[in-house]
Amino acid sequence: MNRTESKARDDGGALLEVRGLTVTFGTPRGDVDVVRDLSFTVDRRQTLGIVGESGSGKSMTSLAVMGLLPKGATASGSIRLDGVEILGKSDAALRKLRGNSMAMVFQDPLSSLNPYYTVGLQITEAYRAHHNVSRKAARAVAIEALDRVRIKDPHLRIDHYPHQFSGGMRQRIMIAIALCCEPDLVIADEPTTALDVTVQAQILELMADLQAETGTGMIFITHDLAVVSQVAQDVVVMNGGVQVEAGSTEQIFSAPQHDYTRALLAAIPRLDDDLEELKMVGDFRTGATR
């Protein structure tokens, strides 16, 4: 497959560089910043984990990078993909990057696939949006893509509809869509949250394998600290739209500096121990009515 010119060149610079990103929602009661002054870097072959609870702004961050913010939201700051500023680019220019240089995997694979079309069409349309090829050629690409995400009998399954697949299979299809144009950056927004734990393990393994094969940079957004500790080399902890703490995964998990990170780590239910919070905080009820 020919790589188009917009594709990143591996010249040693950061793949994605976000500086001072602020996402603002205009509301009748004034502007609200859902993300404020956020900065991070993603390198090739690396995974950056962004963790936070609901309302932390982690999903808005990913949509801002993709240029897919909902109506009423504006982003400011700087987003550089392979050294080129993409914030403020026209929608037509961004469209050439979306799906091609940067792709996304979403949380709920069933609702993220259109129930009216075969998975084949939903993969080929992604490929054909960026490659001027015949239907037949695109179909071959789609079969190969299904094969790469380890779906059996891809030449048969390509003509099936999303509802004919299990949850884990659907997420594999989403990954196939994201990877079919060989993007430099993949943003995965809670890609395993809706899945069963055994399926989650399989999908995480698949994503790691594919990343090793293709060398893409990845942003892995999740609320699950244990998952992020396994997949990411670097972690940004977010709360209320701001970065609480950032560092290497080892740093964050073995020597967290910020109280919020510590509280979050303490609150994770563990398989081998009782809840730390119960041991640490005397009267948990007082903390509840904050």
Partner: protein, 285 residues
């Protein structure tokens, strides 16, 4: 009644759903067993967790036990009495003893009712009188679940997800039930809030002595709350036992694969973090 007798027993529960095979238009129907011969017992003041992945039949089992769905086979015994098919007064009595806390706190609370009205609704249904008055009871319950009692006139939308779940718990506890059925009651909550609600369930149980059936998919959460664990897969019980039996010595391959799949933090990092934090705390004192 002897103390050793379980509070609730589910015996050979069965639930079948008919599904269309080969498309709606073909009209071929097939019975599908969502719950197949499931039995377990819940001891007094104990928490039994029923765990499984989606499609395991755990929620269907809970609904049958809670009498929210009729069983196609088997029976449910509460205090040794068969409560599987009771109606009218018998069902009402059952509801005064068994209460349910649901997964999504907001969709299970009427948005047009005040907290006050939500919490007292089961009492009104039961026609129960309250010594000291309902107002006093609501305030007491709100305090017990960690809500500000002055907020009893507010509506569910004015609360956060964790607080709304506390309202649901207060409502369930209003009739002083013997058994609480929690259907994925902490799954929708953020991790910090989840920990608080788990602890709330435990401490209230220590005070009131009710039993809990805790339906969950998250084994790590189950580890924190359950005394006994029932592992389900494809409608059937795979394995059951005490918490430590299941977590430390699972006998079934399915249970083992379930436990192995749970993502964990590098234990080395965990140990270092704890040492760091202890050191800091020691430096402070």
């Amino acid at each position: 009644m002897s103390a050793g007798e379980p509070l609730l027993e589910a015996r050979n529960l069965v639930k079948e759903f008919t599904t269309n095979t080969g498309g709606v238009l073909s009209g071929k129907k097939r019975a599908f067993r969502a719950v197949d011969d499931v039995s377990f017992a819940v001891g007094r003041a104990r928490t039994v967790a029923v765990v499984g992945e989606s499609g395991s039949g755990k929620s269907t089992t809970a609904r049958m036990v809670a009498r929210l769905m009729p069983a196609d086979g088997g029976s449910v015994l509460l205090d040794g009495e068969d409560v599987t098919h009771g109606t009218g007064a018998a069902l009402k009595h059952f509801r005064s003893q068994v209460q349910v806390v649901f997964q999504d706190p907001f969709s299970s609370l009427n948005p047009r009712h005040t907290v006050d009205r939500i919490i007292t609704a089961p009492l009104d249904y039961q026609g129960m009188g309250v010594p000291g008055g309902k107002r006093q009871l609501v305030k007491g319950l709100m305090e017990r679940v960690g809500l500000n009692p002055d907020h009893s006139g507010r509506y569910p939308s004015q609360f956060s997800g964790g607080q709304a779940q506390r309202i649901g718990i207060a409502r369930a506890l209003a009739v002083k039930p013997k058994l609480l059925i929690c259907d994925e009651a902490v799954s929708a909550l953020d991790v910090s809030v989840q920990a608080q609600v788990i602890n709330l369930f435990k401490s209230l149980q220590a005070e009131d002595g009710y039993s809990i059936i805790f339906i969950a998919h998250d084994l790590a959460v189950v580890r924190q709350i359950a005394h006994d664990v029932v592992v389900m897969n494809r409608g059937a019980v795979v394995e059951s036992g005490t918490r430590d039996e299941i977590f430390d010595n699972p006998t079934q391959p399915y249970t083992r694969s379930l436990l192995a799949a749970i993502p964990t933090i590098n234990p080395e990092w965990e140990a270092r973090r704890r040492v760091n934090e202890q050191r800091e705390r020691a430096a402070l004192t």
